[in-house]
Amino acid sequence: MAMFRREIPTAVLSFVGVVILLAFFTTLDIFETIKGVFTSWIPVISATSVGLGLIYMVYAQYMNYQRNKNLNNLIYLVVPLVFFVIFFGTALVVPGNISSDAYQWLYFHIYQNVGGVIYAVMFFTLASSAIRTMRVVTKDPSGALQFRLEAAALMFGGIIYTLRQIPLFQVYLPGIVGFGEWIMLVPNVGGGRAAVMAAALGAIVVGIRTLWGKEKTTTEVD
């Protein structure tokens, strides 16, 4: 029985991964066919598991409310369920489903609209963190001024590319477009490429360890 819990699932993982690699490296059609079958399963497995999240969400909200019966926790328990029923019910029952006028109304004014707000909020949180971080010169405890090279580089890349994206500066700050593009296509590419390659190597090593059956997170968790 223990074999079904550990060894066989690990073998399944390795088999699937190796077949996909063989499909990439070899000209044998059989591997390409098997790869096609596996990759077509992925969306189905992923989509079928979606109810699990709903169960976890409701459970956590319910338990929180049981532990601490305050108004906030009551809101978290009831309001999501109410809106779930409104949205899901409309999509399911109203003719036309998600294309119906009723769903489109809900979607546009609530889902899409408020979805956009969260990114709007990020403008403010990001701006405040940048104001805090982009300080090229600071005072140390003795009162002496210190130049921070890395903060200067961060600010250089950040501010120049910001100016390049703003029409006002494009018009009234000659050369800013070219300079901004240069930042993006030269130093950014130099640093970014190195980071991409390093992360890729890290990912491949973890990947091979996983296919080898030595990745703890996939083998030891029951």
Binding site: I42, Q170, E181
Partner: protein, 276 residues
């Protein structure tokens, strides 16, 4: 000596003042537009040329991974792209890779109206429904469209759709317009379309994803639009005005308080205002 909490409250108040000023700055041009001109960049020109240089009737696949929440950033790109494609008479296969995409694409096509360009659904363009593809799904799509999508968005079998008659994999695709909102997803297109099949790819994405797409341009991806600014540029270069212009105007004043605050924080140490 201020406590950590008090200092935190003080800095938060400072940020809140900057935030309020930014809001006011954004608001003014929305009521009184400034109307500044637009400067074109190379990736946008190449993006546009990739579409218009294709022979008429070429097949373009649009991997559509839109997020409804991000339409402010991408709507100008979408509308200008669809209009450019339809003006050239190319055939289009839209396939939806996020759960928001089917609604977004339908709404976009209500605005653009392919039929007004002489298009017929099923013959000149088709929309495939949502499927959570991920990178593996992109690989599967390039290999066999029918292994991922058995029907179109209306539930009709792909075998009954004239446009899809002879198309089932990357061989039938002349250009991939890869639309995405998660910056590293550009790698999916590179790895699953460019590396194995050399399919020409152009990309349309958020402003933040431009720096991540840049290392792949122009060799692996032929052009890209990043952000609403690039959408506005495409509107200009393609001669299809859209919602991008108003956005550009409001950015001008909205960003100024932030820039002033960064400048102030860097001047402070020199005038002895810096707290330890």
């Amino acid at each position: 000596m201020a406590t950590v909490k008090e200092r935190l409250a003080k800095t938060t108040r400072f940020y809140q003042i900057i935030w309020a000023l930014c809001l006011i700055g954004m608001f003014i041009p929305l009521v009184r537009p400034l109307g500044l001109p637009v400067v074109l960049s190379e990736p946008v020109k190449d993006y546009y040329n990739s579409i218009v240089d294709l022979p008429e009737g070429s097949v373009i696949a649009v991997s559509f991974g839109a997020s409804a929440a991000l339409l402010d950033e991408q709507e100008a790109q979408f509308l200008a792209t669809w209009k450019t494609i339809f003006q050239q008479g190319h055939k289009v296969i839209f396939y939806c890779t996020t759960e928001d995409s089917p609604i977004v694409i339908r709404n976009e096509l209500i605005v653009v109206v392919p039929e007004s360009y002489g298009y017929t659904y099923g013959t000149d363009y088709v929309i495939l429904p949502y499927s959570p593809l991920g990178e593996a799904g992109q690989a599967a799509f390039a290999q066999s469209i029918r292994s991922i999508y058995s029907t179109d968005i209306n539930g009709d079998s792909l075998d009954e759709i004239p446009l899809m008659e002879d198309i089932d994999n990357e061989e039938g695709i002349d250009l991939l317009v890869y639309q995405y909102t998660s910056c590293t997803d550009i790698e999916w297109a590179v790895r699953q379309w460019v590396v194995p099949f050399n399919t020409p790819v152009i990309a349309t994405t958020l402003g933040c994803c431009g720096p991540m797409a840049a290392p792949y341009y122009p060799t692996q991806i032929q052009g890209f639009l990043s952000g609403s600014g690039a959408g506005t540029e495409l509107e200009v270069v393609s001669g299809n005005p859209g919602p991008g212009a108003a956005m550009g105007d409001a950015k001008n004043l909205g960003i100024l308080p932030f820039l002033a605050a960064v400048l102030w924080m860097n001047i402070k140490p020199f005038i002895g205002k810096e707290e330890k």
